[in-house]
């Protein structure tokens, strides 16, 4: 479904991504693990078309070459990102944010069904429909952000640290929700610090360090890998 090769990205002299290559098959949930500054967020932004990267990079998504495609067209094709900071419109209502999410080729015709689906997924949003997003708690905003991305009827949902800054109980609910999104057939690419919870809902994982992918494996193998335990489980909350 998604395949990329030779994706390099630098901020000035700092090389944030160094010839990253990987694949993601349809229906798969893949987690990218790594310490802060490993380049995980840059990778998702580059895939979404929000960062400029090397000309040599090749990215194909459901058969289309999207390496040179502007960000808004990638969303239209079904590649949706929930960025760090959530990327919402805080001065607009929950309802308006959701409607904007549906502004894609596949989202527009299915607006009503998708709205029912995301409101079942996040029942809290149903009663908050008219509330301005900027006045909501972090956990609620994260719900709006994920719901908005689902309104676009994505084929691949990319999530950048969805659990960041959320209370532990909310994190538990979040991963339950992600599990049910996965069960609905949407592919997911998740960047997370919460190794255990994210591998718990994933098929596979990649490990990044200083802009490179240094390891990959099936989720259950990574979970039982003593080296990984030592490197990340000790430090992550």
């Amino acid at each position: 479904m998604l395949s990329l090769s030779d994706l390099s990205l630098s901020y000035g002299k700092h090389l944030a991504l160094d010839k990253v290559s990987f694949q993601l098959a349809e229906g798969e949930t893949v987690v990218i693990l790594g310490a802060n500054g490993a380049g995980k967020s840059s990778l998702l932004k580059a895939l979404a078309g929000l960062e400029r990267y090397s000309d040599a990079a090749r990215i194909t998504f459901v058969g289309d070459d999207i390496a040179k495609m502007p960000a808004h067209k990638r969303v239209d094709l079904g590649l949706s990102l929930v960025p760090e900071g959530r990327g919402l419109f805080p001065a607009l209502s929950v309802e308006d944010n959701l409607l904007l999410g549906a502004n894609t080729r596949n989202g527009r015709p299915r607006e009503k069904e998708n709205r029912d689906y995301v409101l079942d997924l996040f029942p809290k949003l149903r009663v908050r429909a008219r509330q301005l997003v900027g006045t909501m708690s972090g956990g609620e905003q994260q719900m709006v952000a994920i719901a908005r991305a689902l309104m676009s009827a994505p084929k691949l949902l990319m999530l950048d640290e969805p659990s960041l800054g959320l209370a532990p109980i909310v994190v538990g609910e979040l991963f339950e929700t992600l599990k049910s999104i996965r069960a609905s057939g949407v592919s997911m690419l998740i960047v997370e610090q919460n190794v255990q919870a994210s591998l718990g809902i994933a098929d596979r994982g990649y490990i990044m360090e200083t802009g490179r992918i240094i390891g990959e494996g099936r989720a259950e193998d990574l979970l039982s890998d003593p080296n990984l335990q030592e490197a990340y489980l000790g430090t992550s909350a």
Partner: protein, 290 residues
């Protein structure tokens, strides 16, 4: 005198609101500070003057011709003058400053052409110049019509922005252009359409104003300033705010003119501007975006 000032103030304010809606569209959505904005108002007034005085066209019909023409011309102006600036701004340029400089030049270009064709004299044409009685106030029918048109166009635009998907997209781009691509919005395209739409509103305001006011080739800058004051008073990108602020400005001018001195109207306008910039730069209704 109170009712007279109120009615005159609303008529003036209605046209200011209409003019400001176009500028808030261009500045709030397209992020172009168009200093030649008032020139678009004046060109439309002169175009209507020509259509009325040479072809004998009804000014209302002119509204239907001049508006769409202004849309097309503004769209082209964006392609030629603004698009390169927008492109450059991504590589570290500053769109706001660049657009101010370019449109400052455009202002004098348009003004010069108008001066060559029409000279520096006041122009006007006579249209519905009959007195009508409104709430005990005697007022020219053309002013009543102008207020009616401004109201209909202003409210129509407000409904479009508040209740349609296109309006929602405009609000999203005005609010957070950086996040708009995440919801498949082509920000460049929306900016160009909003700029063209703003030009159309400027022209419509020009046609409406020409129905009851005299105008000169050099009057554009006054409309730019008034529209700018209204936009800032209402909060940049806040369309309802612009409508209300336009009416407030019209009322202030009418009351200053009636109770203090007609010569002080422009001064009162700038006083409002100064006070706003000092104490409420985010506007009366502008939300301070956190």
């Amino acid at each position: 005198m109170l009712t007279t000032s109120l009615v005159i103030g609303l008529v003036l304010g209605g046209t200011y609101a209409l003019a400001a809606l176009g500028l808030t569209m261009q500045y709030g959505v397209s992020r172009i500070m168009n200093l030649a904005y008032g020139e678009f108002v004046i060109v439309a007034a002169f175009a209507t003057f020509v259509l009325v005085s040479t072809l004998g066209l009804d000014p209302l019909l002119s509204l239907l011709l001049v508006g769409p023409a202004a849309f097309v011309i503004s769209y082209a102006v964006y392609s030629v003058l603004m698009a390169p600036l927008v492109k450059r701004s991504r590589k570290g340029g500053n769109l706001e400053i660049d657009s101010i400089l370019v449109t400052f030049g455009l202002l004098f270009l348009i003004q010069g052409i108008l001066l060559v064709i029409f000279g520096a004299d006041f122009q006007s044409y006579s249209y519905l110049n009959v007195a009508v009685d409104l709430f005990g106030v005697t007022i020219a029918a053309n002013q009543v019509l102008a207020f009616g048109l401004a109201t209909v166009l202003g409210i129509g635009l407000f409904l479009l922005i508040r209740f349609t998907r296109w309006g929602l997209i405009l609000r999203a781009v005005a609010h957070r252009p950086d996040n708009a691509p995440l919801v498949a919005i082509n920000v460049d395209r929306v900016a160009q359409l909003a700029f063209a739409f703003g030009g159309m509103l400027a022209a419509q305001a020009g046609v409406v104003i020409s129905m009851f006011q005299t105008f000169t080739a050099t009057a554009g800058v006054v409309f730019t300033m008034k529209a700018l004051i209204v936009v800032i008073m209402g909060g940049v990108g806040n369309f309802l705010g612009a409508l209300i602020a336009g009416l407030i400005l019209g009322l202030v001018e009418a009351f200053v003119s009636a109770y203090l001195d007609p010569g002080l109207t422009l001064a009162s306008t700038y006083l409002i501007f100064l006070v706003l910039l000092l104490w409420r730069p985010q506007g009366l209704f502008g939300k301070s975006v956190s």
